[in-house]
Amino acid sequence: MSQQRLALWNTEEDLEEDVDLLAIGNYGQTVYDDAHIPQPQIDESTLLAMQQHMAQQAAFAQIPDVVKSFIVHFHQAVLDNNLAEITVAYESGWNKYTEKYYARTEWPEAELIAPLVNDDPIFLILYRELYYRHVYSRLQPNIDDRFHSYENSCELFNYLLNSDGPVQLELPEQWLWDIIDEFIYQYQVFCTWRSKPNSKNQEELMMLAEGGPVWSSYSVLNVLYSLMQKSKINEYITAQREGKSPEEIAEIVGEYGQRPLYRMLGYFSIIGLLRVHVHLGDFTLALKIMDNVELNQKSPFTRVTACHVATYYYVGFCYIMLRRYPDAIRTFVTILNFIMRMRQYHTRSYQYDQINKTADRMYALFAICHALSPSRLDDNIANIAKERYGEQYTKMSRGGSDALAAYEELFLYACPKFITANPPPYDDPEYTNNLLASADDESNAPASQPDSSQRHLELFLADVAAQLPVPTLRSFLKLYTSLGAAKIANFLDQDEEELVQEMMVLKQSSRSISRLPGTEGNSLLDGQTITTSDLNFVIDDNMVHIAESTVGRRYAGWFIKNTERAQKILDDIKNMPLPAPPKTSTDAAPAVEAPAPSRKPGRGGQKVAWAKV
């Protein structure tokens, strides 16, 4: 008996390897360490099946009971379209159990929990969506994860777009945004990963060669455009702006666009496309896609904070690449003020860290714009930016030779990830063979695809370099009302003709295309040439004439703010219960208190702090 048992152990070890390999072929992460249970000797395939079954059972048994009931509960909430319950499960439950049980490992596989949810295919797709997102954010996704997360996304979008008519499913807006956002994120990291051929092994190279449409730019754009078209989102926005009645709108947008799920996915796809186009380096198309979206705080996309922040970040960055620094500054100021105000309310949101990181990058971008096009739009934000990036800001605004390094540092820190639309030629056998052959010999390894960020950085720095003499010239001209060009050239130790040409650059850099106030409904690409500098000059043959416009001190904002504050304090005081009345004045108190309740809902006091978010 003991001998037999020994033999069984041995065969089992072999078998276990088989199982493992199989598992890698499928999903690639399960290690069944509890499967060492002696079994009667039977033929191999049955044994294998049993083994797998038992391993699954063992793994299933390992899932903590609270997690099981969480999943059951979650499933029920989705079945009932109970948005409140789904939101709780999605925003707090999932994160809570991730911290507790799955901080460093995967959640149980969908197949494993399938019995808990009656094999509900839709819930399993949603579950996998969360499962892979967790793998991407906490662990290292392997090539199978990358491929399968793509397949799962496709299944989800197929279900939404190609079922018979609109699906009845409802999900919280936050989740819908996260689905789009994560889809693009996974596409972006896949492209980045794919562009480095040297780290790939043979199996990975084979899968990449045969990968076809997996995470191809066309498939990603296809999904986003399909969602936009299905939901008729652009028609919806236009109809709303024209003030059409709900019935008319319903007719225009059709059966899909009427459902909140599709409408929000449509909205988020527009923002998603904005982001994809930026990743691909197409800054005009990125802004053009936003033609119908009004960039203000009332737009529906602002209801999901992460989406709100991302939108402004990408729009602002596009403006930088279009050399429209005043527009970029205005965009960043708006959102940074918003983030600052909401900070006290959102510290515990699970996306707080992410939002903070984006904000930090926007302060860096703001510092860049501010150095290139000094303005006094918002001292508060400017001061924070100078506090955080003081050293770089000083160098950048001084111009000269140190500045470029500071620009480069901040640009690389704050720019979005850029990707190359196409993979290295993995489907060319010769190329992959070379790759494999050179794996041992590092000297002739083929280079990775050059990082696209470098190309954009180079373009940006060339622009900046042209403007480096500007700060010096500007500060010099400030001292005069008129003087000869030869004299300036002499002061700066420069050739006169060179100097005159630099003056043209100075002129050029104090003009910019910018959106005008009152044109908020127009395309983000619209704009007029404006003056961005207080310092103006003109050259009359060889004589430079200088004029400076000064801004008178601004009192109004300060007085308005403080009047409003004073009114609020006054209201608050009036609405407070009176202190225990001193004995002498008992009959005076009710008279004062009586009108107070009617004042409370007054339009003044309550709205003051928040009305103009």
């Binding site: 066309y218 696209s452 622009d463 007029q528 009359d540 109004a556 003051v608």
Partner: protein, 241 residues
């Protein structure tokens, strides 16, 4: 101001539909857009967004890639300085592996640095240096193979210089303007006339007509308070009374 850039009045309707719709991703439309580019090349028109749509198709479909088209697009974009068009085009040129299946060697790697040099000189208003570089031996193949085909290329460069001069000068000497435009004698005179600028024949100084950019005035900007800023305060007093 930008509307002419976003959608030039010379842009035909079919191109407009293509550029603003999803059909811009359809590889089979590349021919239409390329024909439109060559139309721009011949007739001194310019449509940045339509040309970017070509580069977008190249970005996604490397097999469509046609280096001559790319160079022509860049030459058109070059003369729209100081607009960022040139950079926007370069942004879409993904790095491509050296071994693309072309019959001839790809001219882009050798031409691109030349174009970048020219762009840099134009963007930095180094017009005399631009002309001497452009006329140099190193740039001969660019001139003979490409810019010669672009109708009005040199005049388009002059237009860049004229834009800069118009914003910066009220009066400018003929020698200086001559070095910016690479024109002399009667040619220069004719050009100045076509701009409707006037030349003082005794001194040779040219007057640039007033425009919003070459008029300067020291001003003090006073703040103006708009009614909406005061609504809250006014509303509050209303409740009280």
């Amino acid at each position: 101001m930008t509307s002419e850039w976003i959608s030039p009045s010379s842009r035909p309707k079919p191109i407009e539909d293509l550029v603003s719709g999803v059909d811009r991703y359809n590889p089979s439309n590349v021919g239409i857009l390329e024909d439109y580019l060559y139309h721009q090349i011949r007739s001194e028109e310019y449509d940045c967004l339509a040309n970017l749509a070509i580069l977008k198709l190249y970005q996604f479909n490397p097999d469509l890639y046609n280096p001559d088209v790319v160079i022509n697009i860049l030459l058109k974009a070059l003369t729209s300085s100081p607009s960022p068009d040139f950079n926007l085009c370069i942004s879409l040129l993904d790095e491509r592996p050296a071994n693309t299946q072309l019959d001839e060697p790809d001219p882009i790697p050798s031409v691109l640095p030349l174009l970048k040099t020219l762009h840099n000189l134009l963007y930095r208003c180094r017009f005399p240096a631009f002309w001497s570089t452009y006329r140099s031996e190193e740039f001969e193949s660019l001139r003979d193979n490409y810019t010669v085909e672009v109708a009005g290329f040199e005049n388009a460069v002059r237009a860049v210089a004229v834009r800069a001069v118009r914003a910066t000068f009220t009066r400018i000497s003929s020698e200086r303007l001559s070095s910016y435009l690479n024109l002399e004698g009667n040619e220069l005179k004719a050009y100045i006339q076509s701009l409707e600028w006037t030349i003082d024949n005794s001194t040779g100084v040219i007057s640039v007509p007033p425009n919003p950019d070459n008029q300067i005035e020291a001003t003090i900007v006073q703040e103006s308070i708009k009614l909406p800023q005061l609504t809250k305060i006014l509303a509050h007093s209303l409740v009280k009374s």
